[in-house]
């Protein structure tokens, strides 16, 4: 059966400004970025997401309005059950809102079908997870190669891109190692390489340092900040760690399904 929403992403707005002005340094807050000044990467309008849980309706997001400019580094904090996961699913094109709209660049995600959302994820978004989420039977290089989801990239190009990605995270020598042969920090580096290898415009990190010790946490955050700065990515980090959150340009707090600015 054809999903009525199985349509291509439709454009709902035309951006007149495509340039992205990166801040001089991480942590520097530009109050205009929340509402304008650079082209928005994400525009969430009145986004509500509800779930049915044991005959009870749970509101995970409650009329969220949010603009994330392109190239911004945003940290999202909040209590457990406050809606962080749901917000990340909306930003990552993993789910659709119950009401409201989610726009990624010129693409409207709210009404897109599964196939179209998968294509957006494959093309635009890189994910980094708390548990690394590497395929345990594949080597580091093969894990990075899984990011080429549609298989249309020639093999030689894939291999070259994988080598470059691993080199960029300092694991060129560990390409043939299985995840079980790598430390936690190294596994997360592989996951970052997997997220970056297809040159996404957005990098979403879900507690990227949650499973790491303090020293490794700093290494990973240095790496993420480095690629954010070098590549001009839009970086959204969900974290419980205030030390991590403080490194972002912009800090958001989500609780009870509503988003509030925390300032830098």
């Amino acid at each position: 059966m054809t999903d009525a929403r199985e349509t291509s992403i439709r454009s709902t707005s035309t951006s007149t400004s495509t340039s992205t002005a990166l801040p001089a340094s991480p942590g520097e807050t530009d109050p205009t970025t929340a509402s304008g000044g650079t082209a928005p990467m994400y525009t969430l309008t009145a986004v509500t997401k509800t779930y049915q849980q044991k005959k009870r309706t749970v509101t995970a997001l409650d009329g969220v309005d949010l603009v994330i400019p392109a190239g911004q580094m945003v940290a999202v904090q909040g209590p457990t059950g406050g809606g962080k996961s749901t917000l990340l699913q909306m930003l990552g094109a993993l789910d659709r809102p119950t009401s409201g709209t989610v726009q990624l660049g010129d693409s409207e995600l709210s009404a897109a079908g599964d196939r179209a959302l998968a294509a957006v994820r494959a093309r635009e978004i890189g994910f980094v997870f708390q548990g690394f989420n590497l395929v345990p039977t594949l080597t580091a290089a093969e894990n990075v190669e899984t990011a080429f989801a549609d298989g249309s990239t020639p093999r030689a190009d894939r291999r070259a891109a994988v080598e470059a990605a691993l080199a960029s995270v300092g694991l060129a020598e560990r390409a043939d190692h299985l995840p079980s042969e790598l430390s936690g920090g190294q596994q997360q580096r592989v996951a970052i390489a997997r997220a970056l290898v297809k040159q996404p415009t957005v990098l979403l990190a879900d507690e990227p340092t949650g499973s790491l010790d303090e020293a490794t946490r700093d290494e990973i955050m240095d790496l993420l900040e480095g690629v954010w700065r070098d590549r001009g990515l839009t970086l959204v980090i969900v974290t419980h760690d205030s030390a991590v959150a403080r490194r972002a340009q912009r800090r958001l707090r989500i609780a009870g399904g509503t988003v509030a600015e925390l300032g830098s």
Partner: protein, 504 residues
């Protein structure tokens, strides 16, 4: 990437892969062995049937015997002047009778003409199934007793006078008045000497002498089955008493199948057999070759319409007349074997499906992650289905190897199955005479209304055909695809958000 991922997963989950493949292998091996044995049993049945009806016979036409139609049985009547009296007074007597085999009804030979007139008949020939019984023995000199007493053969006295002192009889088999008799029976088939396309001798090869020609019609000549010729110590050129005639042996034949003897001990030209048995213009069955293999059922119906009183049987009908341990094996393989294969196959499929679904559930985060980074449902389904398919194929290949080994073992052991092809007739007690064992030779019908036309010990040979191997591999592939389809469907329903579950 697809193949690398697939092989890594299979080798990493070796235990699960081995269990699924082993289950599939067991099922496939069972299918091969059961199919092979079924084919072997069918071949054995065909072998027995061909020895009775000949190669190329698609349909036989017989007449159902009326219960009790055989009468009181064979009777040998000797007159007072019969036999040859020796010097010691004993008398050698011998008599042969040639009559229709018990339970084998005869009918008018015009039925052959009727059969030949039915559309779809490529060739037809009539045969007359007979039984020759020779009674021979030595009678003592009863005149000694008769001379010593009074009243013997007295029309009024009736019997020997007990008051006289009769001398004991002399001579006979033991020289003291005893008697000894031999009853020798052999089966006789009268057939058209010119028929070479269909009939009992089409499954026989000439061992010595010559076979019949059209010129032998009406001649007192016979062709012997090799087994009978050996046991009766007869050879080409010898003379054999059939009925009340002496006929000359012109040839010896043997079954083309090493598994069975020919249909009869002795073969006569049809008209000679009819004349010697007194069954003028009578036949006991018509063997028919159909013009088209696909039209056999229709031909059967047409023949039944043309000859409403006749029994029309196809090869598959006749297969049910094969009795003995071959029949038991056929029933066993047909029922238990087939069901066992189906059950094991279903169990193997179920195991494959359950393990695949279980594997998908364990890999929820993995598939969720792959979906999150852009893998489509189709690609994930392909990956899961590919893993199941390869597992199924591995199991299939192993199953084919195990199955072939099983077939080899059966062929090396070559279990012997006894078989009897019987023409069933109606009436109470039918089926009582289906005997077992004994190579070659035909037996007479007993009390039951059934006549055994041929018995044989058949060594079971299990054939393996490419189609069976292809079927087995096809089943393995189907099992793998089925499990993969179910597992893939399960994986495709996973929400990519599962990958983010760890987020608080």
């Amino acid at each position: 990437m697809f193949l690398t991922y697939l092989l890594r997963e299979l080798s990493n989950r070796r235990k699960q892969t081995v269990i699924i493949a082993a289950g599939m292998a067991l099922a496939i091996a069972l299918v091969i062995v059961v199919s092979g044995v079924a084919a072997g049993v069918k071949n054995a049945q065909s072998s027995v049937l061909e020895s009775v009806y000949g190669v190329g016979t698609d349909v036989t036409v017989t007449q159902t015997a009326e219960p009790g139609a055989d009468g009181p049985g064979q009777r040998f009547a000797f007159g007072s002047g019969d036999g040859t009296t020796a010097d010691d007074g004993s008398t050698e007597v011998a008599q042969s009778t040639l009559s229709a085999a018990r339970g084998a009804a005869t009918f008018d030979s015009s039925a052959l003409t009727t059969v030949e007139g039915v559309d779809g008949v490529a060739a037809a020939t009539a045969t007359l199934t007979l039984e020759n019984s020779r009674f021979s023995g030595t009678l003592p000199d009863f005149s000694q007793g008769a001379a010593g007493g009074a009243g013997t053969d007295d029309a009024t006295g009736g019997g020997t006078d007990a008051g006289t002192q009769a001398a004991p009889p002399t001579g006979g088999a033991d020289g003291a008045g005893g008697s000894a008799f031999d009853v020798d029976q052999f089966s006789v088939t009268g057939l058209d000497p010119a028929a070479d396309a269909v009939g009992p001798l089409t499954s026989a090869s000439l061992v010595d002498g010559r076979s019949f020609t059209a010129d032998d019609a009406g001649a007192d000549v016979v062709v012997l089955d090799q087994t009978y010729a050996t046991s009766a110590e007869l050879a080409v050129g010898d003379t054999l008493s059939v009925g009340d005639a002496d006929v000359t042996v012109i040839g010896v034949v043997a079954s083309t199948s090493s598994d069975a003897a020919t249909a009869s001990d002795v073969y006569l030209p049809l008209d000679t057999a009819q004349a010697l048995s007194g069954l003028t213009d009578q036949i006991s069955d018509v063997s028919v070759t159909a013009a088209s293999a696909s039209g056999i059922d229709a031909l059967k119906a047409d023949l039944q319409t043309a000859l409403p009183d006749a029994t029309v049987s196809t090869q598959s009908d006749l297969a049910s007349s094969v009795s003995g341990s071959l029949s038991t094996a056929s029933d066993l393989i047909g029922k238990l074997g087939t069901w066992l294969s189906v059950v094991v196959l279903a169990a193997a499929f179920l195991i494959a499906i359950l393990f695949t679904v279980s594997g998908v559930s364990r890999r929820t985060r993995e598939f969720g992650t792959l979906k999150a980074i852009g893998w489509s449902n189709a690609r994930i389904t392909r990956q899961v289905a590919g893993e199941s398919l390869i597992t199924g194929v591995v199991g299939g290949v192993a199953g084919v190897a195990v199955g072939l080994l099983g077939v080899l073992v059966v062929n090396v052991v070559a279990p012997t199955l006894s078989a009897a092809a019987a023409a069933e007739t109606a009436g109470p007690g039918a089926g009582a005479a289906a005997g077992e064992g004994g190579a070659g030779g035909a037996g007479g019908g007993g009390f039951g209304q059934q006549v055994v036309q041929a018995t044989a010990d058949v060594a079971l040979h299990v054939p393996v055909t490419p189609s069976v191997v292809l079927l087995a591999v096809g089943l393995a592939v189907a099992g793998g695809l089925l499990a993969g389809a179910v597992g893939g469907w399960r994986a495709s329903r996973l929400r990519p958000a599962e990958a983010l579950r760890s987020v608080a």
